[in-house]
């Protein structure tokens, strides 16, 4: 059984349903998700399906979280635009921060534009700090307040 302070903090902040596609930067987080009850974790096949399922869980009365690599933001865009932003559905998102100059080539093009993309769509985001509980409270609170998507970016050392 893997312990993830990140997951524990998000659950303490109110997360009841997780859907996502793994990233190696979030390996510990996803390993811990395996121990969630079977109706509380959806190992999705692509990120757009994950966030659509999160919308369903929210309609059903549960607080969702989507987790993914930042490359998945591209797949998510149309669903974020026409489902979450149009219907005003809260969507806390845990997203890996790939694409630095030392990261592999395939991560750089989208990864280095991820922040601009979020700002273009007026999606609140911040980089994870040293306190997972504080990060989690911020994420849940801002997604609720804006009734839309919000992103916590997690770097290589943030998978605590």
């Amino acid at each position: 059984m893997t312990v993830s302070r990140r997951l524990d903090a998000l659950r303490a902040a109110g997360v009841e349903f997780v859907a996502g596609v793994p990233c190696s930067y979030l390996a510990r987080f996803f390993a811990a998700c395996q121990d969630l009850p079977p109706t509380a974790f959806l190992p999705a096949v692509r990120e757009d399906h994950a966030i659509a399922a999160c919308a369903g869980a929210w309609l059903g009365g549960r607080r969702p979280l989507a987790a993914m690599q930042n490359s998945g933001l591209g797949y998510c865009l149309e669903v974020v635009a026409s489902l979450h932003l149009t219907n005003r559905i809260p969507l806390p998102m845990l997203v890996s921060d790939r694409g630095s100059a030392t990261d592999f080539e395939e991560h750089r093009v989208l990864g280095q534009r991820a922040r601009s993309l979020l700002e273009l769509f007026e999606i609140p985001w911040r980089a994870a700090g040293l306190d997972p509980d504080e990060d989690a409270r911020w994420l849940i609170d801002i997604a609720d307040k804006t009734a839309g998507p919000a992103v916590l970016l997690v770097g290589k050392d943030g998978d605590v």
Partner: protein, 187 residues
């Protein structure tokens, strides 16, 4: 039978408790015209995500969840079949109103005409998957058998692609509609 008839027949078989997710476009508009109910979520975009939204509901609720899908919609998010088949929620009921084309954009043929959608669902792990024709006299019995089967269950319904009186857009803001569903479910 047309798309509108099939949507009306499916809705007529449900109880007030059942939760419905309607595909964006004509299927949502027909469902709204036939029988508006608080526990129906009407998509207005996000084509391809009918099954995924319904799965999020099925995993968090005990009531029956009906995904009212279209063939083009299903094909756009074909991974949704894998999600439902893999997670195997027993309260998930998926019906595809299959006109074999993209009717809303002018009737361009869809690849669904060459694909056995029920076999794809069965191969993905749906417990029950059948195909029927809405113009056949056994159509209503097929709908009853689908809803009486163990879930997840899948019914592909071939319909007449002609559509003489398309329904108008839904007279409710997307935000109000989404909140109505959540409130009807106690959230």
């Amino acid at each position: 039978m047309t798309k509108a008839n099939v949507v009306a027949v499916v809705l007529s078989r449900l109880s007030d408790e059942d939760i419905v997710v309607c595909a964006d476009g004509a299927i949502s508009r027909e469902a709204f015209r036939a029988f508006d109910r608080p526990r129906t979520f009407y998509m207005i975009g996000s084509m391809g995500q009918v099954a995924s939204i319904a799965l999020g509901l099925a995993m968090t609720r005990f009531e029956r969840v009906v995904a009212l899908d279209g063939d083009g919609n299903l094909l756009m998010g074909f991974g949704g079949l894998a999600l439902v088949g893999g997670m195997r929620p027993p309260n998930f009921f998926h019906v595809v109103v299959d006109n074999g084309c993209y009717a809303t954009t002018g009737g361009q043929p869809a690849l669904s005409q060459r694909i056995d959608l029920a076999s794809a669902a069965a191969g993905s792990g749906y417990v029950w998957a059948r195909r029927c024709d809405a113009r056949d006299r056994h159509f209503e019995a097929a709908v009853d058998a689908w809803l009486a089967s163990p879930g997840p269950a899948f019914l592909d319904v071939t319909v007449d692609p002609r559509d003489s009186h398309p329904a108008p857009r839904i007279a409710m803001t997307p935000e109000a509609m989404a909140r109505r569903v959540r409130e009807a479910l106690g959230g």
